[in-house]
Subunit: 347 residues, 2 copies
Amino acid sequence: MSANNEGRDNMNERKVRILEAIIQDYIQTGSPVGSRTLSKKYDLQLSSATIRNEMADLEDLGLITQPHASAGRIPSDKGYRLYVDNLMGKTDLGPDLDNLIVKMLNDKMNDIDALLEETARLVAMMTNYATIAQTLPLAEPTVKRVQIMPVEFKSIVCVVVTDNNLVKHNVITTSLEVDENLANVLTSMLNKAIKGMTLTSLKRCNLDDIDPMYKPLILQIIKVIIQILAEENTNQIFTRGTTNILDFQEFNDMQKARELLELLEEKPYLTKLLSKSSGNSVNISIGEENALESMKECSLITTTYKVGEYTLGTIGIIGPKRMNYSQVVSLLEQISYHLTLMLGNEF
Amino acid sequence: MSANNEGRDNMNERKVRILEAIIQDYIQTGSPVGSRTLSKKYDLQLSSATIRNEMADLEDLGLITQPHASAGRIPSDKGYRLYVDNLMGKTDLGPDLDNLIVKMLNDKMNDIDALLEETARLVAMMTNYATIAQTLPLAEPTVKRVQIMPVEFKSIVCVVVTDNNLVKHNVITTSLEVDENLANVLTSMLNKAIKGMTLTSLKRCNLDDIDPMYKPLILQIIKVIIQILAEENTNQIFTRGTTNILDFQEFNDMQKARELLELLEEKPYLTKLLSKSSGNSVNISIGEENALESMKECSLITTTYKVGEYTLGTIGIIGPKRMNYSQVVSLLEQISYHLTLMLGNEF
DNA sequence: AGTTAGCACTCGTAAGTTATGAGTGCTAAC
DNA sequence: GTTAGCACTCATAACTTACGAGTGCTAACT
């Protein structure tokens, strides 16, 4: 903030107004904006010559740049930063949108993955930008309940419910036949032995109390449970609306578009990209501020959703630097609010 | 076949050789091939003038066309068709690739969805074309076993195993509390009542024998089971390597590329696209033969994998019409062979 | 009769040229 | 401090020209 204020201290009210007009116009039109346009289109009560002088100052301050000598000005990363930190207002999305969000999310309530996927689709549709949704791994998932059920000769299903109420299952091929009774016995043995355990404690758990007859089978099952917990412990990522980036005029160059599209297919890159945005509420990363080279022409706006104090995941929107910050921030705030609310109710 | 033979009857051996050279050269270079190139680069023992005459004939037969008056010739859809049906040889992929396929697939054996996803990734990587993998719905999945397990106060998990050994589960919020005993009672009641039932029979099943006390709860659970079966009954689709299409020179035009990329994000379109390829072994659809407008400049090569006589899914590769048919067909044959083999062993 | 050399013609592409105009910085007057 | 005026810059678009890959046709050759 002090850095920005330092910038602002050298600026009078008029400079701020001009900068804001430049950014708004550039976001809207996408072409460099000149002094004459500003003087005519915006109610600044100044001649183009005066505006030109002010623009020269703004350029000296590093807030705007000229793509080439005889063009208008476009905002620099620093200019955008000042804008989103100090000037930008909120967009009122209206109650209709609010209802739409609630309605669409309600449909998918029973499956958190499907819910996130739907959210990403919804956000991409509403913004026409690319959207990423990420679930964060639980720090230490613990076993809440286990259930063994027989399927057919020498084949059982092991179902695990973890403390955050996620359910996973796996088919196991056993060496001995498991009938209904044995399944029930195994189920209660397992629940007694490992309920409440974490992934790490499970790895070195003590099975001395277990009837040696079932020990190999139990061991096999526990191995699967460990695998299930480990899976639980990885994050998941969805992307939606990635083709929208082909519409950004910044990506007229096919090569650049391709680079970014490919990046959006690679989970590790996405994780890296989202890793910075752990903070509260809405986070904005502009141009060079982004962790990845191919994102230099883009801005990333992220938010998180939580249950209580625990952050469950991140939603991010990738757009050109000249994206509609106000609208996207408002939308993400709404989405985050509703998601957090709904998840809080459910679990 | 008769249509193609009709075409071939008007062609002598030399015309065939020239056509083959044209197609091979065009697949390799991507630019229209002229008579002089053919005469010099290929061992035809003919002057360019003679080749020009033959080419004029081939054009009359509709097998090649000129993009414009002073350019060389490119194969028409009909030309490609004749090529893939009669001229094209197999590419030997070598034992290394074979081993690679087996190795990569083995890793993912326990989850059919992950297996397919991996396959798609593998194919996309090896061909540099876009790849689609689709699982087909079961005609009539039936309930093999149901299990109810308590999770916490007024929350249970319902696990369903279907006759094809797929397992799905869902969390249910109940109006009354379900403890371990009740869960067991419900489980055996349900298994007695609906084991072996299909989606349709489940929808109008008779619950007169059920203790009226549990009837609302049982009804609620059956509703969820119906939902699970219905989900089972939908197909799933993955796409991988879609950004490869940006490399096809046919899609230098950003607009066209975008159209196709968007199509590849829409499940219904993909289903439609793959619907034709139900036949045996490997299926090729060239240009206009495809079901969708945006695919007019592409070829689609598909294969299926099965368990016994039952087709489980389809794998398709989308490339430009001038794609390397021979390599892709050979690869898909291998993939299909291995997938079918492995699934046969497992289930 | 089939093959080939020769040649005029076509037409897309690339390179070079020019014109246009949006926008600037500077200066001098208000 | 503000503004009109003006010379200057430079990207873009439109037009021209040159080039060359490739064709079809004709006439000569085997």
